[in-house]
Amino acid sequence: MSGTITLTQGLNQAIDEAMAADDTVFCLGEDVAAKQGGGVFKITSGLTEKYGENRIRATPISETAIVGAAVGAALAGHRPICEIMLMNFVGVCMDQIVNHAAKLRFMSGGQTNVPMVLRTTTGVGVGFGGQHSDMLEAWFAHVAGLKIVTASNAADAKGLMRSAIECNDPVIFIENVISYGLTSDDPGKDHRVPLGKAAITREGTDCSIITYGRTVMDALEVAETLEEEGISVEIVDLRTIAPYDEETVLASVRKTGRAVTLHEAVKPYGTGAEMSAKIHEELFNELKAPVQRVGGSFSPVPFVALEQDWIPSKSELADAVRTAVNWKK
């Protein structure tokens, strides 16, 4: 256990280790096999050579068939990892995700379950435009029966992916194109990060920033800036977006008395709205300021020239924290 790994390597290692440990783990998706280069983002690189084409199945461009096959294989007790290349493409296979993967355990009275992972990537800031960039986690967070996970760093990516594969319920695992190159100290073989547990990425006393995925890095930068102004920021990295770790979130806000939610997804009806509502319901009398929300602009993601205007900025985040800290009742 030495050196560093990238987030891409973390995901690849988690899948590799899981496939080595359990014959029922297999991958399917567009371009995932060796013949196609091991995936557009190389997450399954090198695995076809080890596990063969049945367990690294390159599929036609057929998202409904891909997710449906994952659901079916999972019902048979296998642990499929299917890939929907870019998150916006979930629009063509939502039925399989929300009507089947999410509900079959419940509708069967617990006789069946769907231990599958749906990997998908997305992200604003790479110039992919309106149909290849959205963070759509709130769509899935609104559906009972799905777990939604995303990693802010390479070590967590490895540990969360391994836990997602071992989870007995369907997990939507969101990756961010911009984060693939992030590096962490190598957490070693068989690293696991439990689902449903948030991390306190930075401790502070004045205001909690609750976020996940790529924007955790933004929050860390902003926290450093605000430290110079004498504002002590605590950062909660949810890691599992839904169902989220209410206990850790509420404990942090109870301590600081202030909260800002931050996500790349559009602000209206976002996960931040749910957390804000929860915090107000539980901690209204202890809050020193109303919860502030920061999120993407409520428009389709634009092409390159306007992308940075669209994305929630660090200055916007810093202002939201200052608003909370300077709030006068």
């Binding site: 014959d23 029922t24 297999f26 399917l28 049945n54 367990r55 199945r57 599929t59 036609p60 057929s62 998202e63 409904t64 068939a65 997710v67 449906g68 096959a69 994952a70 659901v71 079916g72 294989a73 999972a74 019902l75 048979a76 007790g77 296998h78 499929p80 063509v92 039925d95 399989q96 009507n99 089947h100 079959l104 355990r105 419940f106 509708m107 069967s108 009275g109 617990g110 006789q111 069946t112 379950n113 009972a144 029966g145 777990k147 989870c167 007995n168 319920d169 169902p243």
Partner: protein
């Protein structure tokens, strides 16, 4: 003359399964008519022989994926009657603890893995069951049933293409009852038939009259045997009729009188009875099977009527593996 392509034991097996499907359907409509139960039910009258033949072609541990009009496959595959009826009545003793209902009967012990309420959604899932069998080499075959209406949804095409690409051990059984909801076949597609679409995917197909056991059973059995041998999937289209409308109580006004006349003349049940008699089964033997099934139904229905409803705490269970805190 009767072509004795189906051996007598198998024929008796198919007759027994068909009787279960038919009598279950009759009983369902009777109870609904009498107002003793009030649940959604999609009648299968006119499709009994297709469902029974398809299930008789499978081993006990093979997989089935069907639709909301799946009573035929469910009872013919062997879902225990008491658990079936209890589920249909929303009772805690049902297959799914009363949480799935008539459109989501599930019973993995008999291989009934999914009953979907969404037209066409079962095909991609069935591929996954077959993929698991292909990966593990467990030798199981999956049958997925669906109607002619389902052949027009995207998932049908995606699933057919993928199944053939991987040579999955699966049989696609299109129960063509000539109507998708209230829309007649000719008003939803110009395809000469559904089976013809298989060619476009390089898949083998069969087009049979599903009102004749001697046509539909051998076609599905051959497809199942080929799938099990690793020779890939088949699309079997079995023509039949939906003799009781889209769901119980729905009207027939959209069906032209000549269609209704044809459907009554081509009823699969008297045809099967005649075939059995020609095969030297006696009226008494066949009547005894019906009486036996009716007796089982009496017990199952009464038990379901008497069973308790699920507790509200069930809402927090089976959403995830871990129970949701109250």
């Amino acid at each position: 003359m009767t072509d004795q392509a189906i051996d007598r034991d198998k024929l008796l097996d198919i007759y027994t399964r068909t009787t279960k499907v038919n009598r279950t359907d009759e009983r369902f409509r009777e109870l609904l008519m009498q107002g003793k139960i009030a649940v959604m039910y999609y009648c299968v009258r006119g499709q009994e022989v297709v469902s029974a033949s398809a299930m008789a072609a499978l081993n006990d541990d093979d997989y089935v994926v069907c639709t909301y009009r799946g009573q035929g496959e469910q009872t013919a595959k062997g879902v225990p009657m008491e658990a079936y009826w209890a589920e249909c009545l929303g009772k805690a003793t049902g297959t799914c603890k009363g949480k799935g209902g008539t459109m989501h009967i599930t019973h993995p012990e008999t291989g009934v893995m999914v009953t979907t309420g969404v037209v066409g959604s079962g095909l991609p899932i069935a591929n996954g069951l077959a993929m698991a069998s292909q990966n593990s080499g467990d030798g199981k075959v999956t049958i997925v049933t669906f109607g002619d209406g389902a052949a027009n949804i995207g998932g049908f095409h995606e699933a057919m293409n993928m199944a053939q690409l991987y040579k999955l051990p699966i049989v696609f059984v299109c129960i063509n009852n000539r109507y998708g909801e209230h829309t007649a076949y000719a008003d939803h597609t110009d395809s000469v038939n559904i089976a013809s679409r298989a060619e476009g995917y390089g898949m083998r197909s069969a087009h049979v009259d599903g009102t004749y056991v001697e046509q539909v059973y051998p076609a599905i059995q051959e497809a199942v045997d080929r799938a099990r041998a690793g020779d890939g999937p088949t699309l079997v289209e079995a023509m039949c009729y939906r003799m009781q409308g889209h769901f119980f109580g729905s009207d027939f006004s959209y069906m032209p009188p000549e269609h209704i006349e044809e459907m009554n003349a081509e009823d699969c049940m008297p045809k099967l009875r005649n075939y059995m008699l020609e095969a030297q089964f006696t009226e008494a033997e066949l009547d005894a099977i019906i009486a036996d099934v009716d007796g089982q139904l009496d017990v199952a229905v009464q038990a379901a009527l008497d069973a308790p409803f699920p507790d509200a705490s069930e809402l927090r269970k089976d959403v995830f593996e871990e129970e949701i805190a109250a």
